[in-house]
Symmetry: C2
Subunit: 214 residues, 2 copies
DNA sequence: CAACCTACCTAACGGCCGTTAGGCCCACAA
DNA sequence: TTGTGGGCCTAACGGCCGTTAGGTAGGTTG
């Protein structure tokens, strides 16, 4: 599902770059670091990429592709389901995109803010398109009478994104279970956290947090 | 030109540094930039600070002080209030800390992730202390029967922080109203977003999103 | 065989960075 | 008047950075 022109060496470099951009940051990762990680020299990177910015843009694009694919899949699988389940499915899909298929999506989320303006501008349309799909999803939920019309959809989308994306700073996919987090987050957002005077479905007995680690 | 012009040297430098760390990032802000902003030369900064890292640590410390003070105030003012109001008050206080008293808190939130390990380690205890206060707050709400015991407090705290802190990327305090955002967010988290079959208190007539601007 | 292409290397260039040493100016105290 | 020290400047240092030019080994193709 990658682009058609991806060469073998190029993919390895991109993997390493995305991983290092994610955990160290774009600016604090040198091309010599990336090159050493894949066992070549810095200058050789320029056979595959025109510049460091171009590498970052490639990481961002791949990240967006993964997110879009995840949304697609959730859209298809949840087409006939009740609203809450569909919502939960999309939350899980977004979180899964952050931790599966490599560090591209997570790197996108963490590095976009400080990315060079040229790179930001190039990727912005793709980001807007993804946001628009979420907006459309939430608007349909309102239209169907499943989501409270008093809720501001922009604020909901932005804070939901904030909550989901912030997980890259505390969730460790190796130590925690993604489904647990996704369920907890989706239920929290959907039903709120207040103790209802009457709350029938208390079957779940979750207690503590999944992915620890700082 | 970010710095104001009448305060003593160190404070003015810190203001400028915090503002630039916030909007450009720590690594991509040079000391020559900071110095130029306050009208001096780069070398002169070393009369006030021992290193660039020390400047960042000072920004972080000030950011934490502001957050702690905001929490204090909310704690005092909300001591006798019902749970939902107290929760809302603390959400508002945290958001206010991000946008009042200068860019220190916001800079802390955005720059901490990529801060040099030495700086991170120095500031971590203060961050943990602030987190602990929120955990205690939420635990009391559960103990008082106001917050759903099935909700995972760590996940709630982390996602709530994520939602609130992410606002620095879309909320413009000059264009939007903080109270509106705080109310929307607090209500969203507290009561959820699902359209209840019966939802009594629909007195509020909020409309659309506050701070736009990309 | 020769020609060519792919994937890398070596070596260096200019530039910006954090940081430092030493000097200068001026308000103010004695 | 002569210190004294706070606040800033100049000039430079070494270092790491992104980037480039030119070269080379090995495989493929005619």
């Amino acid at each position: 599902m990658t682009g058609s022109e991806t060469r073998p060496g190029r993919q390895r470099i991109l993997d390493a770059a995305a991983a290092m951009f994610l955990e160290r940051g774009f600016r604090e990762t040198s091309l010599r670091d990336v090159a050493a990680d894949v066992g070549i020299k810095a200058g050789s990177l320029y056979y595959h990429f025109g510049s460091k910015d171009e590498m970052l843009a490639a990481v961002f694009r791949r990240g967006m592709e993964i997110m879009q694919a995840a949304f697609d899949e959730a859209d298809l699988a949840g087409s006939g389901e009740p609203a809450e389940q569909r919502f939960h499915r999309h939350v899980r899909a977004h979180l899964a995109a952050l931790y599966e298929n490599g560090p591209y999506t997570a790197a996108h989320v963490t590095s976009f803010r400080l990315a060079p303006p040229v790179v930001r501008d190039e990727i912005l349309p793709a980001r807007d398109a993804y946001e628009a799909r979420w907006t459309a999803l939430l608007e349909r939920l309102v239209a169907d009478g499943d989501l409270d019309p008093a809720v501001s959809i922009p604020v909901l989308r932005l804070t939901l994104f904030g909550a989901m994306n912030a997980s890259v700073e505390w969730f460790d996919p190796g130590r925690g279970d993604l489904d647990t987090v996704a369920s907890a987050l989706a239920r929290q957002v959907w039903s709120g956290v207040a103790a209802g005077p009457v709350r029938p479905s208390d079957v779940n007995t979750h207690e503590h947090p999944p992915g620890a680690g700082r």
